[in-house]
Symmetry: C2
Subunit: 183 residues, 2 copies
DNA sequence: GACATATGTATACTTTAATAAACATCAAGA
DNA sequence: TCTTGATGTTTATTAAAGTATACATATGTC
């Protein structure tokens, strides 16, 4: 996404201004054209790795510091446009609340389960951790050989590298929040 | 440089193979074309940030882990093709032994000073550290208000954010190794 | 053996990143 | 006021990133 372009925009501009350099100076030091640098600082560019490399090298800085997110944002995610997927004939519904983002490293889902609804997931890749909180209702969660019954307010954390199951063992609609954390 | 492309090539291939995915799988998960992914894995591509973002997001991984250098290399730098710059009418010569590299964060120079040769540097940007080792001869180094006389085998470390001077106070050729470290 | 499916490679094309040069803007200094 | 120089912006062109499609090569399976 253009998230990264904005980070780069911010960091480059910051470095350039801290060092009191003009676009021409930076162009000369990095070998990247002035026009392109201007575009990058405006966040209107989608540079290649080699361009970023040239900037990092010329400015004597690192990739990470160039691509670092500046500070906290103020970002609203609306459940209106949250995409969702159904399972178990529509009785198990998964809504993506916050999609995965490489900077963040995790994603957030809301899960709605009709009474008796059931879902089974195969083992994810190594290093995935699931954190489930029961917002409403009750659920039984199994991972490998372990089983746990959860009520409203309960939270379970488990490693997702093994097959696991979600089941609504109550008589009413159960709502979960699921955080998937990737290493 | 294509250093980064190689890191990306290695890391992507590693992830893909660890997870037993085909290029088509990754293409579908990331939204990046199979052809481009193949190129990237061969290290023959120079992807844009948005492409890397798509890969990181689709693979549920981070930028840093994708761009991480895999393991130690085995890389020879020849002093033959080391560029050099002269000062003080050719009596102060600076050879770049290892050029700056964003992954490394520092660079190495060799400095040759004829007897009496002299060089003055303005303050560098904040966070630069200089490490000077006398390989041969003697030198007097000043940084701000501090002065130090160095003989063969001596090393001096100082902060480069103030004006500093190098001078060969001996009767013979003095050779220094200079490491410039950037924060 | 012939067919089907899956996987990586090569090729033709479209889109766009990157450059270079001209242009606009502004602040000294004569 | 009129230059002059420095700085960022705009525009036209070129170089290459990215896509889509077709191709080659296996690896089963009937």
């Amino acid at each position: 996404m253009e998230q990264m372009s904005r980070n780069l925009a911010f960091q480059l501009k910051k470095i350039r201004q801290q060092r009191h350099l003009s676009l021409d100076d930076v162009a000369k030091a990095t070998g990247v054209s002035k026009a392109q640098l201007a575009q990058i600082e405006k966040g209107e560019a989608n540079p290649t790795v080699s361009t970023i490399w040239k900037i990092a090298a010329g400015m004597r800085t690192s990739f990470s510091s160039l691509l670092q997110a500046p500070t906290a944002h103020f970002m609203k995610y609306s459940s209106k446009d949250a995409p969702h997927v159904d399972e178990d004939e529509g009785r198990y519904r998964v809504y993506s609340i916050i999609p995965y983002n490489p900077e963040r490293g995790w994603e957030l889902y809301k899960i709605e389960m009709e009474p008796g609804a059931f879902s089974r997931s195969e083992a994810h890749t190594e290093g995935v951790e699931e954190t489930v909180t029961v917002i409403q209702g009750q659920a039984t969660i199994s991972a490998g050989e372990m089983h746990e019954f959860l009520e409203e307010g309960d939270t379970l954390v488990f490693s997702g590298h093994q097959p696991h199951e979600y089941k609504n063992t109550s008589e009413k609609l159960t709502i979960l929040h699921l955080i998937l954390q990737y290493k």
